[in-house]
Amino acid sequence: MRVSQFLARKTDIASRSSRRIRVGPVMTTTIGLLFVAFWAFPFLYMLLSTMKTPIDNISMPPKFVFTPTADNFRTVLKNPDVLRFLRSSLLVATMSTAIALVLAFPAAYALVRFRRFYRTERVAYLFLLLQLLPIISLVFPYFAIAQRLGLRDTHLILVIVYTYWNVAWAIWLIRGFIEAVPAELDEAALVDGCSRPQALWKVVIPVSAKGLVAAAILIFIGAWNEFTLAFFLTARDARTYPTIIGFFLTHSGIRWGEMFVAASLGTLPIVIFALLVRKSFVSSLSFGAVKG
């Protein structure tokens, strides 16, 4: 086909389709942006409300222009418990993420590479199934077991139970990343005289590093956000951040501003993290059914 013909056909298609959907673009853009605004608004309003005085916070209609105050931040950050709980969360989430990755990486590797010889697919689904058990059904037995072992209200018990949910999820995440690494790569290392653990360490990990980081961030977010287990298995010493919500319900009502500050402090870092791994996020949510 000659260039001019080709271009003519192209413009023909373009003009035909644009004729049909001429009203489309403006409308769809507007509707699309309305949806976006609707989903962004509650979060932005929360951020905005952190800077309102108690009076402004309960004024109706809501105020969007007001004199900002830093009082809420000051009160919340002065509360030693808030910082202690943040530290607790950081410790538990980091530890359980690290342990989950150490356990999950070799497992995920084996499930991918030995697939030809063994029924590893079944094992993978067993992990998935176990990860789906309802937390609320297991938390009270955990409570009793932890009490007997003297582990109640410790960081350790949270790290242990989080590891369980994280490992299975991590295996599925990492499996997707390892599937993308050509088998020839680590086989070449084996032929060159590496042992398999060496090949893992020197070849597979560096090649899939990006995926591992994404997996780590996703697992960290899950552990950081977890409420139910933390709420029932800890009492005072090992409380994590999501469980502080009760703090702001006082006898004199809800302290809105401080509540919004606490919510923002706990979520903003996570939101930033999540945006960094946006692409892997989509694929991980569906256990790899969608390639990110």
Binding site: I31, V161, G266, V271, V282, S286
Partner: protein
Amino acid sequence: MSNATFRRVEPWLYVGPALVVTLVLAISPVAYLAQAMFKNMEFGDPISQAPSAGFENFRLAFGESARVLDGLRLTAVYTVFALLLEIGLGLVIALVIENLRRILPFIMSVFLVPMVVMPAMVAMVWRLYFSYEGLVNWVIGLIGISPLNWYGPEHAMKAVIITDVWQWTPFFVLLFTAGLQNVPREIKEAAEVDGASSLQVLRRIKLPLLAPLMVIAATLRVMELVRQFDLPYIMFGGGPGSATRTLPLTVFNTTVQKLDVGVGSVLSLVLILLVVAISWVFLFAMKRARVAQ
């Protein structure tokens, strides 16, 4: 160790530690429940000293007071409405923003946010938004609806559903958008050249291609909704009365508030069986999707 034996055990050396940890932490609580459901014990009692209750706990759980049925009914209401709204809205939004190619990364980022916000904070913040003088009543006031008492038994469940819809519709938006981008360009263009209307393209091309994804996403979400505890608990604690007491909240209410570990264990196992049953559908869909790739 001979070479052949080593090759046989080798995969288990890698999978073993993860499998042992997961199995121990999954089986031990289930074994505890299986014991406790035959016991007459209060929350906090050691199970070894609790007297046997025979099948009394089953009678209480399934019998006249029918806690299981109440919990199941509310779980069904919650799950069905939240799921349908999320899928429907998710599909509409994905189809609309599909055309906004240039700002798509920005839009996807916005929709990512609700999903990663702490559920505990989502519940608390939305609980505030649902107060009588709150944001939600102001917004519906803008379109002429008079304020509702969201904290009352009539609307509390709707409030929980709306909150979940806000947090998890983005899940479907992101998945469907990713799915739509995988629809080969040539197919869409060919259909357009052949004069297919956009409705036809949707019905004949886009929806069939999205269908497997939809089944996976929907079952994942159903399992999440059926076992969800934090959102309804923090928003209304299962109340007012028992208006939001889904099965997970019934487990909590029975075990912790009524201190009845025996009946609570029966309910816990019912919930586990329910989730396992749904997961078979999910696993089936997953296997097909993975084979298709």
